[in-house]
Amino acid sequence: MRRNPRELSIMQRKTSRRALFVGGLQLAFAGGLAMRMRYLQVDQADQFRLLAEENRINIRLIPPARGKIFDRNGRTLAQNVPSYRIVIVREDAGDVDAVVANLSKLVDLDPEELNRALAEMKRSAPFLPITLADQVSWEDVSRIAVNAPALPGITPEVGLTRVYPRGSDFAHVVGYVGPVSDYDLSRIEDPEPVLRIPRFQIGKVGLEAKSEDLLRGKAGAKRVEVNATGRVMRELDRREGQPGADLQLSVDADLQGYVQARLGQESASAVVIDCETGDLRAISSSPTFDPNLFVRGISVADYRDLTENTYRPLASKSVQGTYPPGSTFKMITAMAALEEGLIGPDDTVYCPGHLEVADRRFHCWRRGGHGHVDLQNSLKQSCDVYYYDLALKVGIDKISAMARRFGLGVRHDLPMSAVARGLAPDKAWKQQVHKQDWLIGDTANASIGQGYMLASPLQLAVMSARLATGRAVVPRLIKSIDGVETPTGAGESLGLNENNLRQLRRAMYAVSNDRRGTAYGSRIIEDAFRMAGKTGTSQVRNITAAERAAGVINNRDLPWNRRDHALFVCFAPFDRPKYAVSVVVEHGGGGSTAAAPVARDVMLQALYGETPPLAAYPSKDRGRIKAQQERLERERPRYDTPESGRA
C-alpha cells in the first residue's frame, strides 16, 4: 500500500506528542508511587515498625519455682522434684501412628489421653510439641532414651512437680496443689498471665492455697522471635523470674507424725500449741489422705472413697470442725463468775442431781448429784449443776464475752482452709440469727458448753494455752518466710485476776491428778511434767424424759453418729506450762475414756520430744502402753528422705 509521506509525518508528529503525553503520565504515576512510598516509609515508619515488632516478638513466660515448705526442724514438707512427660513433635515424627505404636510397646499409654493428644495434634502446627503422657517414671524415660532411634519426634520433657514427702501427715495443714482450672480463673480478679500456662500448678487447699501469693513467686519472661506460623526462631532475651518464698512452719513433723498415728483411723483431731510462742507444734486430723494423689490427678474411684467415707477424711477437723465444747467450757463459765466476784473459790453449791430452770429440769450427768461442791470439786467431778447455778447468776453475755477473750467464737487467722469461727452465743446473736429472745434455759445449756456453743479443736487448744499462761496466746503456723522470722504469738496479758487463774488451774490439776478427778486415769506420773486438764463429753442428741426414766442408753449401744463427742483439753507441765493440747474424738463416747488418754500420750511425746519413758505412766498401765508404743513404732512410716539443712 502506497503511503502519503506528508500524512505519515503528520501522524508521526501526533504519535510523538501523544508519546510525550503518555510518558508524562507514566512519570507522574511513578511520582505518585514515590509519594506513597514516602508516606508509608517515612511518615508512618514508627507505627509500622512497632507493628512489625509485635508480629515477630512473642513473650513466653517462664514459670517460677514454687517455694518449698519445711517443718520447724528443717524437714521438708513440700518440695519440687523433676517430673517427666513424653511429648511428640509431628513434623519430626513423620509417621505418627507408627511412632506411637512403637512407643506404646515400651510405655503404658492411657488410651483416653492418647486420643486427646492425637486430636490436638491434628489441630495444631506440626512443630508444636504435644504431650502424650504426663508424670512418667524415670524408668520409662530411660527406656525411651535407649530406644530413641526407633522413636523419631519423641522426647521426654522435664518439668517440676510438687511432692509431699510426709504424705498424709500434712494433708490438712499443707494441703496440695493442682493445675489451674477454669473455676480458679473465674474466681481470681485479673489473673496473672502465668496462671494461663498449661499445667501450671497452684495451691488448691490448705497452706498451699492460703499462702499462694508467697509460694508462687514471680514469673520470668523470655522474648522470642517467631515466624508467621508461630515457630520460635531464636530467643532474644530472658528475664529470670523470682522463685516463691520458702516457708518454715511451726509444726514439728515428727510430733505431727506421731499424733496422726496415735489418732489412727478414729474420726478425731488433736492440736498441740506452744504456750510460750503460740507455735502450733502439731495440728492433726484423722482419718487423713495422701495429698500426692491430688497432685498427680486423683482417680474417680479414689476420690469417691474419700468423699463417701463417713469419717470425712478430706475435712480438716482440727480447724474447720466445730463441736459443742461440753464440760471443757466450764472453766470459762467459772472464770466469768470469778471475775465478776459473784462467787469465791470456796463458795459451795448444792447439787441434788438436777436444777429447775424456768419450769424445765436440767440434769447433772450424775443422777444422784454431787452434794455440796466448791469450784475445785465441781470441776474435778464435772458437776453440771454448779455451773448452771453460776451461769444464771452471771448471765450469758458475760460468759460469751469471757469465751471470746479466751479465743472461742473468734476466728484465728491461720493460713489453712476453712478456719472455723465457732460460736460464743449471746442475746443479740440469737435475736439477730433466730429472731427469738434468749431463754434462761439457753444460758444453762451454754454454761456447760452445750446448746449453741461451738468450738473447734484449735480454739480449745488456744483456750487451754490462755488459761495456762493468762496471756492472749495467738496460734502461729508460719514460723519464718524465706528465713525471716514472723512475730511470735506470745500475746499480751489477758488482764485477769491472777488469783482466779491460779484457782482454776489448781482445779484443772485436780481433774487429772486427784483420785476422784475425771481424768485421773490419764495422769502423768513424772513430777516435772504434771498435767492439768479437763474432760468433756458433749451430747449430739437430746435425752428425753422417758429415756432418762428408763435409764440413759449407753454410748456403745447407739449408732456411731449418735454417740457423744469425747473431748479433752490440757496443759503441762503444771507449774511451768509448755504445751497445751486439745483432743476431740468425734462420737468417741466419754472424754475421760476416749480423749484424755490420747491427749496424755501426745503431751508426753511433745514434752520428751521422743517416745516417752514408761516411768511417766501410772504403773498399772505400763504394760498396755508399752504394747501401744511398739505398735505405733511399727506402724509409723519412716521418712528417710534427705532432709534439708535449713533450720
Binding site: 501522524m11 503518555v22 510518558g23 506513597r36 516509609q41 508480629n55
Partner: protein, 379 residues
Amino acid sequence: MSYLEYSVKSTPSGPRKILYLNWPLTLLLISVAGVGFLMLYSVAGGSFTPWAEPQIKRFALGMAVMLCVAMVPIWFWRNMAAVAYGASIILLISVEFFGSVGMGAQRWIDLGFMRLQPSEVTKITMVMLLAAYYDWLPAKRTSRPLWVLLPVLFILLPTFLVLRQPDLGTSILLLAAGGGLMFLAGVHWAYFAAVIAAGVGLVTAVFRSRGTDWQLLKDYQYRRIDTFLDPASDPLGAGYHITQSKIALGSGGWTGRGFMQGTQSRLNFLPEKHTDFIFTTLAEEFGFVGGFSLLALYALIIVFCIVTALLTRDRFSSLVTLGIAITFFLFFAVNMSMVMGLAPVVGVPLPMVSYGGSAMLVLMGAFGIVQSAHIHRPR
C-alpha cells in the same frame, strides 16, 4: 513505507551492530536484574538456591535472546508480527485444553527446560501486531470506525482468553497496553473519552443499584467486590497479605533494616516474597532509599524507551517501542500499587526482579525488539 524504502546502506551491519546497541538501556536492565538477584538471595535467607541462581541463569539466557533479537532487522519483526500474534492465540487456546494451572491462575505449557506461559508471550505479540497494523494502515483511516473496530478485536480476543484462565491481572494489562497503543497511534481521542465515560457510567450504575430494586449484581458478588477493593475489611483473610506488606514497607523507614535483616520477609509474614511481593522485601531491607532507587531505574527505562521511539522515523519502530514501554510500565506500576495497598491484589510480578522464567525471557525478547529498532533506525 515498506522496508524497501529504508536506506539500508546507512544502517550498521554484521557484528558492528553490537556497537550500536542502546547501551544505557542495556545497563539499566542489568542493574534492575541485579537488584532482583540481590533480593532473591536475601529472601532465601542468604542463599543462591533456590531462587537467585536459576534467576541469574535465566537472565544470562535472556541477555542472549535480547542480543539475538536485536541483531535481526526490525522490518523482519514487523513482518513476523501477524504470524507471532496468530501463534500466541493458538497457544492460548491450546493451554485451555492441555495446559496446567500453576500456583496462581496462569496456565502454562511445560517445554521441558522451562514453563511457557502463553499469556506472557501474548503481551508482546499483541503490541507487535497493533504496531504493524498502524504502520500498514493509511493515516487518514486511523480514526474511521471500522478500522478502529479491527484493533479492538485484536485486543479483546487474547484478553478474553486470558480472563478465562482466569488471570485477571494479565487481562487488565493486555487491555490497558492495547488501548494505550491505539491512543499513541493517533486514534481520535473521542473514542477513548467515550469508552472511559461508558466504563465510569457502568461502574456507577453497578454501585448505585446496590440495595435498590434494579440491583445489577447479586449480593455475594458485591461482597466479593468489597473485599477486592478494600482488603482491610477482611484483615485475616484477603487483607492479611496486604496488611503484612504495608507493615514490611513501613517498618523499612528511610534506610531500611539492613540487608537480610527484614523481619517481615525473613519470618514469612510476607506472602509470595520471592515473586509478587518482592518489592516489599526490598523496601523493608533498604528503606525508602532502596525502593525509590528501583523506582527511578524503572522510570529511566521508560524514559530511554520513549527517547528511542522519538528518535526513529519508522512508524512500526516507534509504536512497538512505546507499546513495550507501556507494558513494562503497567507491570511495575500495578505491582507496586498492589504492595503499597493502592490497588487490589492481582497477580502481577515486578518486572525483571520477581522470580520467574518466562516473564523475564519474554521481556528480554521485547527489549531485543526495542534494541533492534534502535540499531536499525533509518538514518
